[in-house]
């Protein structure tokens, strides 16, 4: 995009914004204005599409995303296990651009000024907004693992907890590992992105070993005292399918690493691995964590559940993994998509001068593969509770699979194809 075009677009956005504030107080009108969405993952992409779709084009939407294409974290463990490719988990932003006329800018946002309703871009220039949506996902707290707090160590000891180059690199490390080697995966204390994800990864790496390097081992160093998600189903898979491969070690919080020797350092123990995969502790993505928004535990953004709006910074909405979650609510791509719809509905009401819906509902479905064909799920439904001012799980609803099976393995791919289309097509 040329600068001229961008400036013209901003003028239109500002004019639409002025109209919104002129008519904003009337209530019940048609939403108009300019919404800037930061981050084009499960939350941000859904937000951009639904704002355009539900406003029937009345609201201008700019999406700022640092990557040229969307790469899915869900299903990426199958790439690490070797049965899917990066192409299988990559979707372009062309649908958002062409079908929904979302202005997609490939850039990073370096600052937010909620008072001026403006953001600054890394490549230069500012964008003004009527409402801002931050969907930055998580960033890693490398300072909690001193030996990993430098670029050389991070290039060797991978997280692969953001799908992309690290997914490919971890797969390469596993392919290069000798038969009889040890793959160790370190899981941080909850909350972290995708609670069942590390256990799924352990299963799929073990499945790969079983097929290609049967003398190899998978050691799970869990910083938690027990399996965080789908415990019974994962433990059954480990004992039924990977009895001599997977070694699960709870209460094994990582304190440090020695990158030179690929050693995980625990409180009372050390473990040297051939492939060491450390999922570091996490917090809200940088732009949400460092823009002066109120955080909880210095890590996650405090939001109003009727609007997904920051409790401290009016006009700034935050969705997805970056928020302090409601009780039992996981940090998942599915949930980020649901936050986006709740937020989009609220933003359109607010731009039209109406209050957000008082009765929002969100639900989660999360499939995990335990081998290349069989999957298990956890599901939940959450509704707004006026007394506690948060979303509460609906009693009696949700649950996990009765047993692992291939039907759910197919459903997991069906889920992926449909949610990618729901976000991007």
């Amino acid at each position: 995009m040329t600068l001229m075009k961008r400036r013209d677009f901003l003028k239109i956005g500002a004019a639409a914004g002025a109209m919104a504030s002129l008519y904003g107080c009337a209530g019940g009108g048609k939403a108009s204005g300019h919404v800037v969405v930061v981050g084009g993952g499960y939350g941000g992409a859904t937000m951009a599409k639904y704002l355009r779709m539900w406003s029937e084009g009345g609201v201008q939407v700019t999406l700022i995303e640092r990557n040229p294409t969307f790469i899915s974290c869900p299903i990426s463990n199958l790439v690490i296990g070797g049965t899917k490719t990066m192409e299988d988990i990559t979707v372009s932003y062309e649908g958002l651009k062409n079908k929904w006329q979302v202005r997609v800018i490939q850039d990073d946002v370096v600052a937010v000024d909620p008072a001026k309703r403006s953001i600054s871009l890394a490549k230069g220039g500012n964008l003004s907004y009527d409402r801002l949506v931050l969907s930055p996902g998580v960033d890693f707290m490398f300072d909690q693992v001193p030996g990993l707090n430098n670029a050389a160590a991070q290039a060797k000891i991978l997280h692969a907890w953001k799908a992309g180059p690290q997914t490919v690199a971890l797969r390469k490390q596993l392919e290069d590992m000798k038969n009889g080697g040890v793959y160790a995966i370190s899981i941080p204390k909850a909350p972290y992105r995708c609670p069942p994800g590390p256990y799924e990864r352990a299963c799929l790496v073990a499945d790969y070993f079983k097929r290609s390097k049967p003398k190899s081992k998978v050691i799970i160093l869990d910083g938690n005292e027990d399996v965080v998600s789908k415990k019974g189903l994962f433990m059954k898979a480990w004992s039924d399918l990977y009895k001599d491969i997977i070694d699960y070690r709870p209460n094994s919080e990582l304190k440090d690493v020695d990158a030179g020797t690929n050693t995980a350092i625990l409180e009372f123990d050390k473990l040297k691995a051939d492939v060491l995969n450390v999922i570091p502790p996490q917090r809200a993505g940088d732009i949400a964590a460092k823009s002066g928004l109120k955080l909880i535990n210095n890590r996650w953004v405090d939001i109003n559940w009727l609007s997904m709006e920051s409790t401290s910074s009016p006009g700034v909405h935050v969705i997805g993994d970056a928020i302090f979650p409601a009780p039992t609510m996981p940090k998942s791509g599915h949930m980020a998509n649901q936050h986006a719809k709740l937020g989009a509905a609220a933003i359109l009401n607010m731009l039209a001068g109406s209050p957000p819906s008082p009765t929002p509902l969100v639900m989660n479905t999360c499939y995990s593969y335990v081998d290349v064909k069989q999957a298990i799920h956890v599901a939940s439904v959450h509704t707004y509770d006026e007394a506690t001012k948060t979303m509460q799980p609906v009693k009696g609803a949700g649950g996990v699979s009765a047993a692992r099976n291939e039907i759910e393995g197919k459903a997991a791919m069906g889920w992926a194809k449909n949610i990618w289309a729901d976000m991007l097509a």
Partner: protein
């Protein structure tokens, strides 16, 4: 005895109207929670194995959901999800999807 279903239906109507007064887009917003698996506005991705809800007769959707909820219809996941919605909410969702072309 014949009055009972009518009274129940009227009660359902009243509850639905109240909820919709508080949120005129309630049906749209609730139906959007199904879209992750069943496609935007119930238009599922072809060949991905998920039920298409767009344009489906309201009574048919409601019956299916009631059977999921009661456990009469075997399911891998819908029996757990459907229990998270009230009958009023399911009525709104089924109405919304029936109207999608």
């Amino acid at each position: 005895m014949k009055l009972l279903p009518t009274v129940a239906a009227l009660g359902l109507l009243a509850a639905t109207s109240l909820a919709q007064a508080a949120d005129p887009n309630l049906a749209r917003n609730l139906a959007a929670t199904c879209a992750n698996c069943h496609g935007t506005n119930g238009k599922a991705v072809p060949g991905a194995g998920m039920d298409e809800l767009a344009g489906t007769d309201k009574a048919k959707t409601l019956q299916k959901l009631a059977e999921f909820k009661s456990g009469a219809k075997p399911a891998s996941i819908m029996h757990q999800i459907s229990k998270g919605y009230t009958d009023e909410q399911l009525d709104l969702i089924a109405t919304y999807f029936a109207a999608q072309k």
